[in-house]
Amino acid sequence: MNELIQLNLSNLTGRKYWRSLNQLADTPEFRQWVEREFPEGASELLDSGSRRTLLKLMAAGFGLAGLTACRRPVEKILPLSKGVEGYVHGRPLHYATAVQACGAATGLIVECNDGRPTKVEGNPRHPFSLGATNAFQQAMILDLYDPDRARQVQKQGVKSGWAQFESWWLEAASKLGDGAGLRILSPRTASPSLDALKAEIAKKYPNSVWVEYDAVNFDRVVEGARLAFGQPLMPQYRFDQADVVVALDCDFLGLDTMTAQPVKQFAARRRPEEGRELNRLYAVEPNFTVTGAMADHRLRARASDIAAVALALARELNVSGAELKVLDGAGGRQKKFLAAVAKDLLAHKGRSLVLAGPRQPAEVHALVALINQALGNLGQTVSYTRPPFAPADSLAAVRQLAGDLAAGRVTVLFALGGNPVYSLPADHNWAELFRKTAAVALAFDENETWKAALWQLPEAHPFEAWGDVRALDGTASIQQPQIQPLFGGRSALEIAALIAGRPQRRGYDIVRSYWTSQWGADAEKKWQQALYEGVIEGTRFPAVEVKADAARVLAAIQPALKAAPAGIETVFYPSWHTFDGRFANNAWMQETPDPMTKLVWDNAALLSPATARRLGVQDGDVLELSAGGRQIHCPAMVLPGHADDSISLQLGFGRAACGRVGRGVGHRVEGLRAEANFWFGPAEVRRTGAKYKLVTTQEHHTLIEPITGLKRNNIVEEFTVEEYRRRAEHGKHEPHPPTDLFPEFDYSKGYQWGMAIDLNACIGCNACMVACTAENNIPVVGKEQVGKGREMHWIRLDRYFSGEEDDPQAVMQPMACVQCEKAPCESVCPVAATAHSPEGINEMAYNRCVGTRYCLNNCPYKVRRFNFLNWNKDVPEIRKMVFNPDVTVRMRGVMEKCNYCVQRIEEKRSQAKAEGRRPIRDGEVLTACQQVCPADAIVFGNINDPESRVAKLKRQARDYAVLEELNTKPRTTYLARLRNPNPELV
């Protein structure tokens, strides 16, 4: 079956694609296949993939609509031949699954329309999702339909097949003997079934080596625990229990976590209304991250100075009886800062938390562990469990692998997933090394690794393949496919089974058999339950009791903590666009701006204003960075609040071998990243004199007007906790109602939809932007058009700096259509294409719009988006499968904007009516942005119901309307940003 689709797909494009699927239904192979799969019509549960395939064909039938463009196109209806359990045409199905990045899993629930996965949501049952996801998990759905995916088994670029590959492997395997020549290279995975297979392989080939490597990993965190407690452990934080959090170069709200959990827990402590006092966050960091933006106090420090800071802090806290020698570099301002922090921490023993980022060396993590121990936080705000993946120093393993390859000791090398040739340390020319052996690359797209390999195998998307994954705390989930592999790809699990010489090779059998062996008796019941709930009961790792002898550990690690050399250093961060390169071909992510720089379709060398002035560098000046005899070029960008003498670089750009979206986008910084400066290290900087065009979605970065120098109030409101307390006593200030030209509409009846956005919880992580893009079929316009100011995002994140340029504070403000009751856009539309619903939603009737853009001009919030060109013109047919069938795909020349996900409201309304005309419950309708938000910063509901969450929030004293004085009466109001400064530091 897969081969069939594959054959059709590989040589058919455009509209033919659907036809091919239908013609496919004619072939005898298809008949046999149906016979095989559907003897009775219900047994498809054996392989839920097949069920979806048939649905896919049916969806294909509906896809035929309007092929003939006459006045009345003849449409065909292709009902299923035989029923599918639980499937009702027009009703989406939801399946629980889980995906992982860098060994950290998140539980998901995927919505499928007619067999097409179309939307990802978080799984509320999963401890690291809690119902939310991050932007990347939202964007995975687009990768599934990426037309540039690897589609064909190839041998050195020549068309081949799985059968040929398998026979090749059997032959090669027969020569392997004890496997001394066998190497397997894969990304970090926490998968029980795969671990079992690893064991089998190790047994079969005792001298083979399985190397795990990720460009972004937790190695140093685990190693730090080993130094402190003598065993490799994974810290588990409880931010919701911490009154004081100190983050040392740790972007735990941003890219240093792959999950929503820390944000959920942290945000829970930023809502004074819920009774618990506001927590206080100190951030010490080189780059200005979203964590730094949330911090109540922020100290700029180079990555290499963090060790000194940690030591100084340790001494202030007197973690060991022994006097600590402190490294220089902790300047006057730092001393004051650290003294205050230490005092604060000591005042919150057992309710505080200090943590360090994965970039910091193991010694710093050990030190931090001791600090937490001294503060009595162990078991309170931080506990340790065994890591869900095999702990190993992947850099050492990779170095070893390189040696073996160079020496020709490797006969067969499997690269199972990821893109090692692109992302491995630059000490070696990996493409060369790969060519020295029989390399087998299992790759999702035709990437650098694929190009360097002998055998090139298409990898299945996580939504296409069976598997199982562990979360960071060990909680296991079944990875359930949503659709048959579109291009006949296979998963790493299946290849591993092949290597291990297992008879059964289908992912389903592998996973099922593993868990059956675990469960024994009531396996069937537990299996169904695991699939249904998306988490497997009782798989969470217990906390390990740990105790360290501080003095001894300190004596051991202190020599390793070196004073930082002066001069410029480079730090490598994952990217908000491509993470480590894996999302390089994902247009949604490329076009979603970086939360701090607002940069799209690019990465840049971020540096502080002072450093830029010293180097005479401006935005867009191409820099040459060199270290260890390696050079890279990267355009500079000045980021207020960045640490001096430090340059932040984002990984995952400048992909040479990539799909049409990501090829050549940005600049590859991996070329500078060797083992020595894997996370950070000194570098030489030189201006090349060349210029490069960087495009941002936000041109003016503060609320201070140029020319006048006045601050714009009534856009972002911000108080300290003290100010807010005083304000709260006076109660919410109500503006005196101005007189209106037009008669008032009576909004007192029925549902009146409204939204409250909590600026104190929003961390600006972009999840809402991508979720909205996925839900509302929002097109991508590309770098050039964004540069012209034509991006289409319905919800955007405005980021405003305040304070002095060198060390500012930042506020994030999600801004979508605020649904004005007195909408300026409505009165000016000549054709009444935008009108107000009786429930207070400012509607867009696309089919009525003629595109005068008058509404856009008259919108004070500038949230309306115009289709300047036909953004959907060149969308490949397969890419169209991601479209949400409940939302119109807009044509060129019409205006569009946020409508509170009205399609979701109408769905729930009709459901409520069908269920005996009951009212819609509060929280039953979730907008896409609200549902995904890891900080629960967005609350939507019926403001006429005084008990609804949104109504309660709108009664808060910090609730305000943006540009209130314009009397547009927006339905979306904001909760002011609060800051909880340490009195000693103000």
Binding site: A25, F30, G61, R72, V88, Y846, D886, V902, E906, A914
Partner: protein, 215 residues
């Protein structure tokens, strides 16, 4: 110098002008009538791959609409039945009939029967059967007496104005939900009176704002 035009010319000119106005006006009126969906779309009766007769099944045999169109009460679509449903009876009834060959083939191969869509709405219109059927709008209101049709025919224009007529004055079209599939049902007395009562009791208020149908 001789006049360029005859004495009558002015009269002719005026007549010509008057005629032009009349012709244009008439043309406009005719166009407005002809291109109205009522003329353009109603009566559409495509030939179906299988000569299925609603008259026979729903009329003479008195099968309920919901027997085949199972999803109307659950989803926005009123799904055309799966081949399986046909075969529920036709494994025994007329199991040899050549007319049913296509059905049997479909059942054997799993290949769908390609029915031709009759009631077609534009892509930007989101009509929801569930909402209407549960509110007590009968099939007959939009589809006509299907139980009397050998071949299904579109009897209503399905135009926006036509939708709005009912949304702005639903009373004549509302009946007890359990009776929606009784196409021949007539209330004693004025349907509008009954409808008005049901509307009051169940709090039915059909929307006429844009996003009710356009999203």
């Amino acid at each position: 110098m001789s006049a360029p035009f005859s004495k009558r010319f002015d009269t002719k000119l005026r007549l010509a002008a008057a005629a032009a106005v009349a012709v244009l006006g008439a043309a406009g009126a005719v166009a407005a009538y002809v291109f109205h969906p009522r003329q353009l779309d109603t009566g559409y009766t495509p030939v179906q791959p299988v000569a299925y007769s609603h008259k026979l099944h729903a009329g003479n045999l008195g099968m309920d609409c919901l027997y085949c169109h199972t999803t109307v009460t659950q989803a926005s679509y009123a799904a055309v039945p799966m081949t399986e449903i046909c075969m529920n009876c036709h494994v025994r009834v007329k199991e040899k009939s050549p007319k049913l060959q296509a059905i049997r083939d479909s059942y054997a191969t799993g290949k769908p029967v390609a029915w031709v869509k009759v009631h077609r709405l534009p892509d930007y219109v989101y009509f929801n059967h569930r909402a209407h059927v549960t509110a007590g709008v009968s099939c007959v209101s939009c589809h006509g007496r299907v139980d009397q049709m050998t071949e299904v025919r579109q009897v209503q224009p399905l135009s926006m104005a036509w939708c709005l007529d009912c949304h702005r004055n639903p009373a004549p079209h509302i009946r007890p939900p359990e009776l929606v599939t009784k196409l021949d049902w007539q209330p004693e007395g004025d349907p509008a009176v009954l409808g008005a009562r049901l509307i009051r009791e169940k709090g039915i208020h059909p929307p006429d704002n844009c996003s009710a149908c356009h999203r």
